[in-house]
Homo-oligomer: 347 residues x 4
């Protein structure tokens, strides 16, 4: 692992600690080099015995796969070296998610140092790209909001091969998304203090958020329609969990909800980590806390022609570290659920 002092890192360590086929060789952090991992995270005392080390190319080159759990812009500086040495790379940041380089550079405010690698990177959403992930050397692990949103929308469009009939007007998508505070990371900012966010709620990034182009890219890949997407994120006074409330105009307002529900259920019938709730239910974020599952419910709105999709994930698990482990499992031909089968903790 490169990085690993943030919440995504500790979640990855938690999951790998009980993974039967993975063994953590090295974990790097410039700022914490020399510190036992379990000093920073006492929850891992007895489970993880490594110390953080300064990044060392030789040590990393001996791994089968490297997880990069660093801030945006770091993985792109390591990627070529690792790949050249035959090490597979799963980047949990955003460096390889967006295919259009100018778009990426606009939203992330930096110049991309290896655009050629972006072209070959595989967007690591197994429900969309499982077969190519299996062959991938470089996987761009999806963002948390895009994971919850894309899984909630996928069954509504023609699909990557255009086989299905689209059910909704892709130009009318509204995604009102809410995230727990761990999504904001572990850096020392006044805005993320307990006393600033507890017992309160707000929208943020209403003028534009980096996950907008990522969601747009995903949906555009499965529909011929022009995608019009409104995306507004909000900050929840809780630790883990993303809830995406998705609104879209039905193309056929007479379509019975039962038929749409059946389509969702069939679409995900072989997916180990997507659960379509019975009609009438509403998913709670706690129902996926610490698990790699995405739970989805669909409703028809009163007073309009809109379909409403409710999609929840744990931002640190299916929205980050769990999905990274799922991708690793696929890349190495392991059982896709290995290390990921514990039910959510409740409550």
């Amino acid at each position: 692992m490169i990085g690993g002092t943030g919440y995504t890192g500790v979640e990855l360590l938690r999951l790998l600690a009980t993974h039967s086929a993975a063994s953590l060789g090295v974990i790097t952090s410039r700022s914490e080099a020399g510190t036992p991992v379990s000093d920073l995270y006492p929850s891992l005392r007895g489970s993880v015995d490594l110390n953080f080390t300064v990044p060392d190319a030789t040590a990393l080159a001996q791994c089968d796969v490297v997880f990069s759990a660093t801030p945006n812009g770091i993985a792109m500086t390591h990627a070529r070296d690792l790949l050249d040495q035959g090490v597979k790379l799963i980047d949990l940041a955003a460096d390889f998610r967006i295919k259009d380089i100018p778009t990426w550079e606009h939203w992330y405010g930096m110049t991309h140092v290896c655009p050629d690698l972006v072209a070959g990177a595989v967007y690591g959403l197994p429900e969309l790209n499982r077969s190519v992930i299996a062959q991938a050397k470089l996987v761009a692990n999806p963002g948390c909001y895009p994971t919850a949103t894309t899984l909630g929308l996928l069954p509504l469009f023609e699909g990557a091969r255009g086989d299905d009939v689209a059910l909704v007007d892709a130009s009318t998508l509204v995604v009102d998304a809410k995230s727990g505070v761990t999504g904001a990371g572990r850096s020392a900012k006044v805005a993320n203090l307990f006393s600033e966010v507890a017992d309160s709620f707000k929208a943020y990034g209403a003028a534009g958020h980096r996950h907008h182009p990522e969601i747009w890219q995903n949906i555009s890949s499965v529909t011929q329609q022009a995608v019009g997407l409104t995306f507004i994120p909000h900050l929840l006074p809780m630790l883990r969990g993303i809830h995406a409330t998705i609104y879209a105009d039905l193309l056929d307002s007479a379509q019975p909800l039962e038929a749409i529900h059946e389509r969702f259920t069939n679409y995900y019938s072989n997916e180990p980590f997507v659960d379509i709730l019975p009609l009438g239910q509403h998913p709670e974020t706690r129902s996926v806390k610490s698990s790699n599952v995405c739970r989805i419910a669909i409703h028809k709105a009163v007073g309009s022609n809109k379909l409403v999709v409710l999609s929840v994930i744990d931002n640190l698990t299916k929205g980050a570290a769990g999905q990274a482990v799922q991708n690793m499992n696929i890349m190495f031909g392991l059982d896709e659920t290995e290390g990921l089968s514990s039910p959510a903790i409740m409550p």
Copy 2:
């Protein structure tokens, strides 16, 4: 006060305790009759010396105004007696909010016992109905979601007299609303236990919610357009606060946001309890905690033609008890801000 054992009741007691022109004569509760108010609410020890009593028509008839803070369906059984004796009535429940009786009976699941009084009742949103509130005998205090939503939408339409130009297409309204748990009341239900709702988030009532027709009625009163409204409420793991995220298609996509912002600012320039934030800001629910203020921000979405309005209130204050006191002040010719001028507590 009739009722007063719930959170709306204790908030009303808190506000009246420092109101210079109001004196609480009697507070009724069948279930708590005989109990000192301050036994149920130690926060009021030293501020409120009354005991709860069984409802007594004679005692209530001596009041200038009665607040009814009971469950839905109770105030309508008391209203005629009180009004006949010259007592003004402010109902904090829903009995007199909806003008269309079949609609009310559909959503509230009971037969209305005094439809004639509904016709004469005034919907107590001062920013919409101040002058008629001043003359009213019976005020229907608005619901919490409708208050936040309606205040966020009012400046966008022609207005009650049709003078203005509508800015948005009324058929495209999406209201994604979130409420703190106090909005669910104080009855003993498993669903509202701390261990059920803490550190979690969910939508509820996606198949239809009672506040839908109330919002629809409000907006329909200020536009000639047909109103198409999607309304989905959610439950926040926090005590107080409502955040309405409102989406609407702009009729003129070239309209600069600055002009819309100016319209909001002008619209509410004389309102003591509506605050339009500077462009670029996002209101936090905590910025209105325990206060009667509604704070509103507006944004233009990236990737679509939608205006996004963010509106926050404290559900127990501007969304219930505070607005009731504001209505009382107006009905009795008092300074409208009397008893309501304390800033929000922070944090």
Copy 3:
């Protein structure tokens, strides 16, 4: 399982779902008979496929072991039948914890129906009674406060065989204990509503709490001294976790803290679920969230002769369901950590 609709029940289901040697045969609940477990607990969708059933002696008799996760006073009515049929019983309630029957009857307010079974029951704290648990037919799973407190105190006394030197004066014990709200159970009570306990803190049961005699019994079993115990519980506005802050007068005020720390470390050196923190640290309840570990730190107070022991557990895991699984593992000769090795989730 008998019972299983409460938080202890769902935690037990979570742990058993990934236990390699246990298979859940039947789960009973009179109130939820016929309901799929995963309807009540969507977190278990895909992991637990059983329905709740009415208690059926025949079905229970086919199990190797029955967990009773019912309110106090129920297990004692089932115990003899199960034991007579050769089924082992682990009671997660209090029916078999207290050896002195009049004391039990005083604190639990009912008549015990099988005092003879109490005598043969084993108090299921493995760190105290491992060898007898291995032979037990009937295990009384300890209470949550007593688990955290007893583990924090055990190394300070002579021990069950009187071999060691006592370090503290057993007549001076003060246990200031704090519990998350899940410890209060899942019944519908106003006092446990989110809106009643969130963002607040209080002591409760200061006039006497049922866990007092249980702690007293435990400590009295490992010292010749007369035990004087003050125990005050408090309610934390959080889901899971117990923190016991324990004060005791040192018998030798000159004893260096390092020596006491070494004694703790040695005492628990072979224990898989007790972790003594390095000197100077303070355990956080989140460091054991969802795990079966108890973490302990010791300090010497400024300004007095008191030793301060800080002990944390997850009340649902080491304080209930996890310890029950640990006991099952011991009773059936399994690896004691089977099903219990996942690190705490963080945060």
Copy 4:
């Protein structure tokens, strides 16, 4: 006001905004100079119109009183100048609380620059020092833990004049104290992030805390006995509130609790901000949220000879800004409750 960007500052601004006799002339902050106060704290929009300014001796000299709400060690550098110009000073930090200079320098890690002023400063706990506060030029506003603890202990000793009989052994005091997170201030530290402290609980400072000598000094001033004090603070996952659980050995174990309760009630019978709860009750921190009240309950422990005192305050109000306003009221001959009479918000 000097300082005012922290939580104590914004609480002081909230209280002064509705104070009938106080007008805020200037508020200083080097880091935020030029920023409108209401930009930093939108909760004050419409209530406070000032901008932060750089500290300016001339402007401050025109005030009747200056509140210093800065970090420790700042007020002592301003004090002499202000006092020399006839400006009264209320320091909300610790600079003037401890009479013994070496003790202060030990705990606060700096050299005191004006020890002579310490001698003349008045410790601003009105319940202890009302008459001298009325004459004071320089008031040291007490710490939050010391306020809750001292008020809980005062009635148990001989009193400053030695008139009463002591009820407890002063050498046996244990104070297990818990504070909401606002007590930790508003600086950007990882340890105070929401994701670090939410849904968790821990002790801190077990090896020694700065409030220990302050409590010791207070108690020593009202008893001839030698004071032995153990003080352990803990961090609660909530915003506001302190709960001190205080243990002390009764000198006469036969003393009925009723008599002790009567003594507490009589002791505080004329105090506007101390409320002794009826026997059997437990104070909740929320019962004083945003108010200047301290609520106290007393219990006799089961199984020992200890008296247990439970004392709650809001750390930002009675524990800081509210007490500062109370002191100002006393110093200027105003009604002591002016600006402080709003009941606690609930919930």
